[in-house]
């Protein structure tokens, strides 16, 4: 399901980026491929967007009968059509003129902000949650991480193209390894029980972090960190010095999530990446003060200064780990550290067999 989702969204993005350069045929052709994936998902899992398919303890439904044949047919069609679209993209000078050297994200900034997904990997940040820390079944599958160093719109398109190719390989391998058996474990969410879990997966935009605590059958606390959290601030840096007409290309090549970002902002009321670790343990009045001060200062600061702000602010928030966004940090390592810190917190509940996402 994760690879089908990646395919559908990458097709949508590749087409939409070209459409923003008024190259409509790529948009139409990629739209057809995206639709084919969604229909296959519907036939295999009972929902075009595969919503409500992942549940505590496993997945809601098994691959339907005839599913593997559907998927093999889909892979064959994509393998036949997609290379021609890639050739078209790569050999159309007017399109290349718009995407190559447009909206360059410097590798240094991608690292500072811990940018994941195609944004980070197009700017030489070789990080993919499927590889590191890695999780089943990816740790047993053969695939390559697509990394480019140009950091422009073109590189972000190419990361997606390479990932489409890798997703096809992955689906092939997963289909070959499918075995009969249960697709979900029973989870006891009865009243009085507390369960806690941490999830860290590579979505199509990048690494997604979810922490969840269930008490008495209800969600007691939840923290959702969308990849866009690290990517939105970088878009601002990327458009600097570009012509207005190239803004849509820069924007679409990022394709950040508004609602995913708001999952955090709604709680913090602040767009600064350092804010996530700051508020815990502070009084409501102090939080309000911090937010006001932070939001006043933020727009006047350059991107590099914001990175420094983040480090300073996070260091001043004692007892909290420095988050992955901090400047001059080895962001990959810190992302890991952040993950592991949380993981150790809930390791005991995991051992008791409570659900993880």
């Amino acid at each position: 399901m994760a690879e089908l989702e990646r395919l559908a969204n990458h097709f949508g993005d590749i087409g939409a980026i070209c459409n923003d350069a008024s190259f409509a045929i790529m948009h139409a052709q990629c739209g057809i491929l995206r639709e084919r994936v969604l229909r296959a998902a519907d036939r295999c899992f009972g929902h075009r967007l595969m919503m409500d398919r992942i549940v505590p303890g496993g997945v809601a439904s098994d691959l339907r009968s005839g599913g593997p044949i559907q998927l093999v047919g889909l892979l064959n069609e994509v393998r036949e059509v997609f290379p021609r679209l890639v050739d078209l993209y790569d050999n159309t000078a007017s399109l290349q003129d718009r995407t190559a050297t447009t909206g360059i994200l410097r590798a240094e900034l991608a690292r500072q902000f811990g940018a994941g997904g195609y944004v980070g990997r197009a700017s030489n940040r070789a990080f993919d949650a499927r590889k590191r820390p890695g999780y089943p079944p990816y740790d047993q599958l053969d695939f390559e991480m697509a990394v480019f160093d140009a950091g422009d719109v073109n590189a972000r398109v190419w990361v997606r193209i390479r990932e489409v190719e890798q997703s096809l390989r992955l689906i092939d391998q997963i289909l070959q390894r499918l075995r009969d058996g249960p697709v979900a474990a029973a989870v006891d969410l009865a009243a009085g029980k507390t369960a806690e879990g941490l999830g860290f997966v590579e979505g199509f935009r990048g690494d997604i972090l979810v922490w969840l605590r269930i008490e008495g059958g209800r969600i007691a606390r939840c923290h959702l960190r969308d990849p866009s959290w690290f990517q939105w601030p970088l878009l601002e840096a990327v458009i600097e010095g570009n012509i207005v007409a190239d803004f849509p290309l820069c924007n679409k090549s990022f394709n950040c999530s508004y609602s995913g970002h708001d999952l955090l902002v709604g709680r913090r009321r602040c767009a600064g990446p350092c804010s996530r670790a700051l508020f815990d343990g502070r009084s409501p009045n102090r939080r309000r003060e911090m937010t006001m001060q932070h939001c006043r200062n933020w727009p006047q600061r350059s991107i590099a200064q914001r990175g420094e702000d983040s480090v300073a602010a996070c260091r001043s928030a004692k007892s909290m780990p420095v988050p992955a966004t901090a400047a001059n940090s080895k962001s990959t390592r810190l992302t890991m550290r952040f993950t592991i810190l949380n993981a150790s917190d809930c390791a005991s509940s995991l051992r008791r067999g409570t659900p993880t996402s």
Binding site: D42, R48, L49, M51, D52
Partner: protein
Amino acid sequence: MVTGPLTKNMREALERTYHATPDPKWVIAVGDCAINGGIFTGSYACVGRVADVVPVDLHIPGCPPSPKVLLRGLLTLLKA
């Protein structure tokens, strides 16, 4: 066509859009959230159903509705 849960922020925008649209007009509530609030039912940020604010001529259920269901709904309205 009105999609998504009707939020308090968007209530006035919906009402003004409805009144600014000349007759003949139809309102279609598309998706479970527009029809009954969906998973946002009871949220402090939501008003409730679209039908509570403007008269709805057709409900198209689904989360989200598939393209086929959408087309079938629209055709049904045209024929009615």
